[in-house]
């Protein structure tokens, strides 16, 4: 009888580890120097939505350009983000709200600690200009087109001159649709 690789491994006890959830083993590593062995035990605050939410709005002061949460869960060599995390946690323990914590960070580290400029003062320009530019250009474009359509509607109807070549007949909407459909079928 054929036996599959997984079944064989399972029979040998490989890949189906016994439930050790109650053992809590913490055996020393063979080569502790090969790995960053100085990690701190994850505290409840590291998963706290308030802490994480605040950290996602603040920039790590190392050159990574990431937010504090991302940096401390990504760049394990960074010494700044754990310290900033501790600052956030300390303020949370003091009972401060998210906005108060952010304000405290801005007061201490300056506005560059924010991941996005405040929507006040000069910062308004940052948010408003792209949208304003698009709306202005789009509005101008639409205005010109509408104006042009009106001008066309007011334009004098050309008097047919027998000496000039005959103008092409203007198609009704229905006829235009029929032509388009026929062309589409032809293209297909």
């Amino acid at each position: 009888m054929m036996i599959g690789r997984r079944a064989w491994l399972a029979a040998m006890g490989v890949g189906q580890p016994e439930d050790t959830s109650t053992t809590g083993a913490a055996d020393p590593l063979q080569r502790p120097d090969w790995v960053d062995g100085r990690r701190r035990v994850v505290s409840e605050y590291q998963n706290d939505p308030l802490v994480v939410g605040v950290e996602r709005r603040l920039r790590c002061t190392c050159p990574c350009g990431l937010d504090i949460f991302t940096c401390r869960t990504t760049d394990f060599t960074c010494t700044y983000s754990p310290a900033l995390h501790d600052e956030v946690v300390a303020l949370v323990r003091e009972g401060k709200t998210a906005d108060e914590i952010i304000a405290a960070f801005v007061a201490k580290h300056g506005e560059s600690i924010l991941l996005a400029p405040k929507a006040t003062g000069f910062g308004v320009l940052g948010y408003a200009l792209p949208g304003a530019a698009i709306l202005t250009v789009g509005g101008l474009l639409a205005w010109v087109l509408v104006r042009r359509a009106k001008l066309r509607a007011q334009a004098p109807v050309q008097v047919e001159n027998p000496a000039t070549p005959r103008a092409a007949p203007v198609l009704s909407d229905r006829e235009r649709d029929q032509v388009e459909r026929a062309l589409r079928d032809l293209e297909a």
């Binding site: 890949g15 050790t20 959830s21 109650t22 053992t23 809590g24 913490a26 020393p28 590593l29 063979q30 080569r31 090969w34 790995v35 960053d36 062995g37 100085r38 990690r39 701190r40 035990v41 994850v42 998963n47 050159p63 350009g65 937010d67 991302t70 869960t73 990504t74 394990f76 060599t77 300056g110 560059s112 924010l114 991941l115 996005a116 400029p117 000069f122 940052g126 948010y127 792209p130 530019a133 698009i134 250009v137 789009g138 474009l141 639409a142 087109l145 509408v146 042009r148 359509a149 001008l151 334009a155 004098p156 109807v157 103008a167 909407d173 235009r176 388009e180 589409r184 079928d185 297909a188």
Partner: protein, 675 residues
């Protein structure tokens, strides 16, 4: 070989300079002979740069650590494929790679361009020679000589940054460079057409495939870059709005705008000035991206070491910008549109608004990227502009763009009647509404995600409708079975249906991006046997049990691998492994800080993403960051679909969209909008 390589670079510079002089400074009877000579120059430059490149690869593969670059970016125990890729890992090598690819493209352009456009080729050769020559000049006099020697020969190199030791490193940078560099050819044709005053739509045909190639490489490069960031950097995301990422997006956006607006020029002879502006602008943005990456003016995790080459690029950018737009200005009167926009409800108008949104996004990305510098200059205060800013500004624009992706291809040229609009859009609008309603009933309340998915439903409806109608029409006309009809439909209308596939890929991207709104993350420190639980946004629960840490030596690194058993709602689904790596040189000495390899279990719905942060007190007790990231698989699927669509669109042999002869106006029309 190093001397030969350096000699080849100097020769390439001389030939490029000579070619530029002949192309732009020759007048009178000598011009024809000069033109013949100039057209040969790209081949000579390409040959020189290939000699330099082969010499450079030889230095890398032979571990010639007397060459400063080889010492800085490789080591004796670096695998061969990474030795190959180390070519573009650093500033100097990547500059050589730029010049090499550009010279090769320039040479190919001279060989494959249709005879109809041969009169443009000397100027094209002149422009490409100037750009190639500039890159070689930066290498040779800008302090970026890839063959620079050390005063001694170290026994081993410093090795390649661990984050660059990933298959993505072999593919992503070349793809991105091919995209950036490919833009030089359309740019060269545009400048040549302006100089020669051949301002009909001919030059558009000469560059169509080059534009598509460039766009496709850039798309692939960006997508693989996202994949690389996702699997290698370990932050559980693929796009961080980093300045260098933004720099790659800018020319992609303008080139995408060009690929749409060029159809209006081909079909109706409109938007000539706009198209020239876009081609020139795309090239300048590619150079701007190079400037950002290499100048160190803006902090980025992706940028090369700060160096003086940034000043060269800034100077080149300014000079090229002023010259090209001045040239365009002098030809302005010759670029009158041959037709005017008839209606807001027309394909031309849809493409125009599509261009407006694309350029709007490009502007907002550029604005956000440069805003910190501006703020510092105006207020003296340095500020940061990160994902919250870009998402707030660009997500609505992106959704508008997605909507136009569905509208543009279906609306009639010139003027859409009410009947046309009803016939084309009733089905897709219903599809979008059904999706929105279904999601609302399923409990989705995130406004942007809901809008993205509903619009995705609408656009998918438009694409599906086009395919179904096409297949039915062929079935009626030729009595073909559906699959045969579908195959022939695509084969006979590659550009159109390839374009639809690309649009579908964009839809897939947006669906995947919408998934990002529901990412969940958790951290835990686990002893062996302990578990962490995390809830998926799809309703099930993962339980990850720490099985232990194994340590072993592999190639050029020491690995500590943590394995976790994964159960989904109590059912064992497998294991997941994340590693800490300490790279070492051939003497066993650590070369870089320890790096992390993430563990990923991916399926169509979501990715389970585990990062092994390290251990506590030198025991197997490990710290982990676990993320459930919905719909990530679809980002990569979108990339594949985009490539397929792009290849279908540009595959040779399909019917070209030739400019149509337009009859003289038959009725009195007021002055149109000159666009």
């Amino acid at each position: 070989m190093n001397l030969l390589g350096e000699f080849a670079l100097w020769t390439a510079l001389l030939v490029a300079g000579w070619s530029a002089i002949l192309a732009f400074a020759t007048r009178g009877p000598a011009r024809d002979r000069a033109a013949a000579s100039v057209r040969q120059a790209p081949h000579a430059i390409a040959l020189c740069l290939w000699v330099a490149a082969v010499s450079f690869w030889k230095a890398l593969f032979s571990h010639d650590f007397s060459v400063e670059y080889v010492y800085s970016y490789s080591s004796r125990n670096l695998p061969d494929y990474f030795l190959f890729a180390a070519f573009w890992a650093g500033q100097k090598g990547s500059l050589l790679f730029w010049a090499l690819v550009l010279a090769t493209f320039a040479s190919i352009a001279q060989l494959v361009t249709s005879r109809r456009y041969h009169d443009l080729l000397p100027a094209v050769a002149g422009v490409t020679s100037v750009v190639t020559g500039f890159f070689v000049l930066v290498m040779l006099v800008g302090g970026a000589n890839p063959f620079e020697r050390l005063p001694f020969v170290p026994p081993d190199g410093r090795g390649l940054n661990p984050q660059l030791q990933n298959p993505g490193m072999v593919i992503h940078p070349p793809m991105l460079y091919l995209g950036y560099i490919g833009m030089t050819i359309p740019f060269a044709f545009a400048v040549a057409a302006l100089m020669a005053r051949r301002l009909d739509s001919g030059w558009i045909h000469a560059i169509r495939r080059w534009s598509l190639v460039s766009w496709l490489f850039l798309s692939v490069g960006i997508t693989i870059g996202m994949w690389w960031a996702y699997v290698e950097l370990g932050w559980g995301g693929y796009w961080a709005w980093d300045p260098v990422e933004n720099a790659s997006l800018l020319p992609w956006l303008t080139l995408t705008a060009f690929l749409h607006s060029v159809m209006v020029q081909e079909k109706r002879g409109m938007l000539k000035r706009w198209n020239l502006s876009l081609v020139i602008g795309s090239f300048l943005l590619a150079i701007f991206g190079t400037f950002l990456t290499r100048s160190g003016v803006i902090a980025s995790v992706h940028s090369f070491t700060q160096s003086n080459v940034g000043y060269f690029f800034l100077g080149f950018l300014l000079v090229a910008g002023v010259l090209c737009y001045t040239l365009l200005y002098t030809r302005w009167p010759s670029l009158e549109p041959e037709a005017t926009l008839d209606s807001l409800a027309s394909r031309e108008a849809a493409f125009l608004f599509n261009n407006l949104v694309l350029l709007g996004i490009a502007f907002s990305v550029l604005w956000g990227t440069l805003f910190p510098i501006l703020s510092e200059a105006v207020r003296g205060t340095k500020i940061s502009v990160g994902p919250p800013f870009f998402n707030r500004v660009n997500v609505p624009l992106g959704l508008l763009l997605l909507l136009l992706t569905g509208i543009g291809p279906l609306i009639a040229w010139r003027r859409a009647s009410a009947a046309n609009l009803s016939r084309q859009f009733t089905g897709p609008v219903v599809a979008g509404l059904v999706v929105a309603l279904g999601l609302l009933l399923a409990g989705l309340r995130d406004g942007y995600a809901l809008a993205a998915l509903a619009i995705a439903g609408f656009v998918t409806g438009t694409v599906a409708q086009e395919f179904i109608r096409g297949v039915r029409a062929r079935g009626r006309l030729y009595q073909e079975p559906a699959l045969v009809a579908l195959g022939r439909l695509i084969a006979r209308n590659r550009r159109r249906y390839g374009g639809y596939l690309v649009h579908l890929a964009i839809v897939v991207y947006f669906v995947a991006f919408a998934g990002g709104a529901f990412k969940v993350a958790k951290e835990a420190t686990l002893r062996v046997g302990e578990a962490i639980e995390i809830d998926s946004p799809f309703g099930h629960r993962y339980r990850l049990t720490h099985l232990g840490v194994s340590q072993y030596q592999s190639l050029n690194r020491r690995v500590s691998a943590a394995t976790l058993e994964v159960r989904q709602d109590g059912v064992r689904v497998g294991t997941i492994k994340s590693e800490k790596r300490q790279h070492v040189d051939s003497f066993g000495q650590p070369t870089f800080q320890p790096s992390t390899e993430v563990g990923i279990r991916s399926n169509l719905r979501e990715d389970l993403y585990v990062v092994f942060a390290g251990t506590v007190d030198g025991t197997e007790r490990g710290s982990f960051a676990v993320t459930v990231h919905p719909l990530v698989w679809w980002v990569w699927a979108g990339g594949v679909l985009l490539v397929v669509g792009g290849l279908v669109t540009m595959w040779p042999g399909g019917p070209e969209m030739a400019p149509r002869a337009r009859p003289a106006p038959t009725r009195v029309e007021p002055e149109g909008v000159a666009v």
